[in-house]
């Protein structure tokens, strides 16, 4: 093979560092890391931590794009460090913690706000029809599955929040991933919890804060297309509004 997959490559990493115990503000620290072209950015960070500077803090777990914990800004873009391949980058790479989240330490951000929002949208099936196990399972056809499947692929990596300018400006915004997940359950044929979730997401802090910039869908590593979910929630909520007002007029 004539490719250079295993070629050695010296990569300059510019890493934004912040130590809450000693630093007033974050500052960049540069490292020259011997890498292999086929590595991902996470491999480079792991090499750095193992061999050059054990004090560097960052999150990761699976190294295979499923746990969602290695999100960071890589050359200004929100990326999974285990999905960002060195071969796609120049020799100097700038690494910062995810935008729009407070920095806990180095590349580790505070995710409390996102977790609280996830809980608010009740991301679990609230059965429309209560049954006991002896009555059998809740059945679903492949067609019913396909309606929401894409929105169920979210790995909670928060890249979409780091990309969303509305969330940056208005942190109360429930945001792309949490609303997409609410939508995923709302359109699940087994679910009956839409009214409860609408109270959270069909509001000014919910979908109506979204101006459809679309950045969330561009950065999502799992092709969830959160922007689509939010527009669908807007459309459905608008229909609700008309039905509600039209119905009350009909009743008079």
């Amino acid at each position: 093979m004539s490719d250079n997959r295993l070629a050695a490559r010296q990569i300059e990493l510019e890493v934004l560092r912040y130590n809450p115990e000693t630093d007033q503000e974050p500052k960049f620290q540069n490292y020259s890391v011997p890498c292999i072209n086929e590595w991902c950015v996470l491999d480079a960070l792991n090499y750095l931590k193992d061999n050059l500077d054990p004090t560097l803090a960052y999150r990761w777990s699976c190294h295979m794009q499923v746990c969602g914990s290695c999100g960071m800004m890589i050359n200004g873009e929100p990326k999974l460090a285990c999905k960002a391949m060195l071969r796609d980058y120049p020799d100097t790479i700038r690494i910062e913690p995810l935008n729009h989240f407070p920095i806990e330490r180095d590349l580790v951000t505070v995710a409390d706000d996102f977790i609280a929002k996830l809980k608010r949208v009740k991301p679990y099936i609230i059965p429309g029809e209560k049954r006991v196990p002896t009555e059998g399972e809740y059945k679903q056809t492949p067609a019913q599955l396909k309606r929401y499947r894409q929105f169920a692929m979210c790995i909670n990596c928060m890249l979409c929040y780091a990309a969303c300018p509305e969330y940056g400006l208005q942190p109360k915004f429930i945001g792309p991933a949490a609303i997409s997940l609410a939508h995923r359950y709302n359109i699940d044929s087994r679910d009956g919890g839409r009214d409860e979730r609408q109270e959270e997401i069909a509001t000014d802090e919910g979908v109506w804060e979204c101006t459809f910039v679309g950045a969330c869908s561009e950065v999502c590593p799992k092709h969830v297309d959160p922007a689509a979910a939010l527009q669908q929630v807007k459309a459905a909520s608008t229909v609700d509004w008309y039905l509600e007002h039209f119905m009350s007029w009909v009743k008079k």
Binding site: D23, N99, P102, K146, K234
Partner: protein
């Protein structure tokens, strides 16, 4: 349980008036938003035209003459280009809000987008016909 962890999260402020310079995709969004200002101004001009029409033939004629000034023509060409840009970009994202399912499978985005273009062309032809252009 060892020493106390010192938490002092650092918040990076987002510049409230210049945030859209931070990423090319934000600029693209802002450009699209700006195009709608031109569409808004054009709508106001149309309303003024209606008002002049109701005031009589002389007023209507002077309105038509004003539309032919070089400044006005430049503005109309710009507004047309911006309206086209705004419409194309809108039609291309419309499928996101309108998922269609035929049988088991979700329809490809192009189905909804093409539907929008077809309706647009038909409506335009109808209006031009109605206005006596053909």
């Amino acid at each position: 349980m060892g020493e106390k962890m010192s938490r002092r999260p650092y918040v990076r402020e987002v510049p409230p008036t210049t945030w859209y310079f931070r990423m090319p995709r934000y600029m693209r969004y802002m450009v699209r938003e700006v195009t709608s200002i031109f569409i808004g101004i054009y709508t106001v001009i149309m309303l003024v035209g209606l008002m002049r029409l109701s005031e009589g033939p002389a007023q209507w004629q002077s309105f038509l003459d004003a539309l032919k000034s070089p400044g006005s023509v430049t503005f109309q060409v710009l507004a047309l280009l911006f309206a086209l840009y705004n419409s194309f970009t809108w039609f291309n994202v419309a499928p996101k809000a309108l998922p269609l399912q035929f049988g088991e499978d979700m329809a490809p985005d192009s189905v909804v987008a093409i539907g929008h273009y077809v309706v647009w062309v038909l409506l335009s032809i109808f209006i031009l016909f109605w206005a006596g252009v053909f």
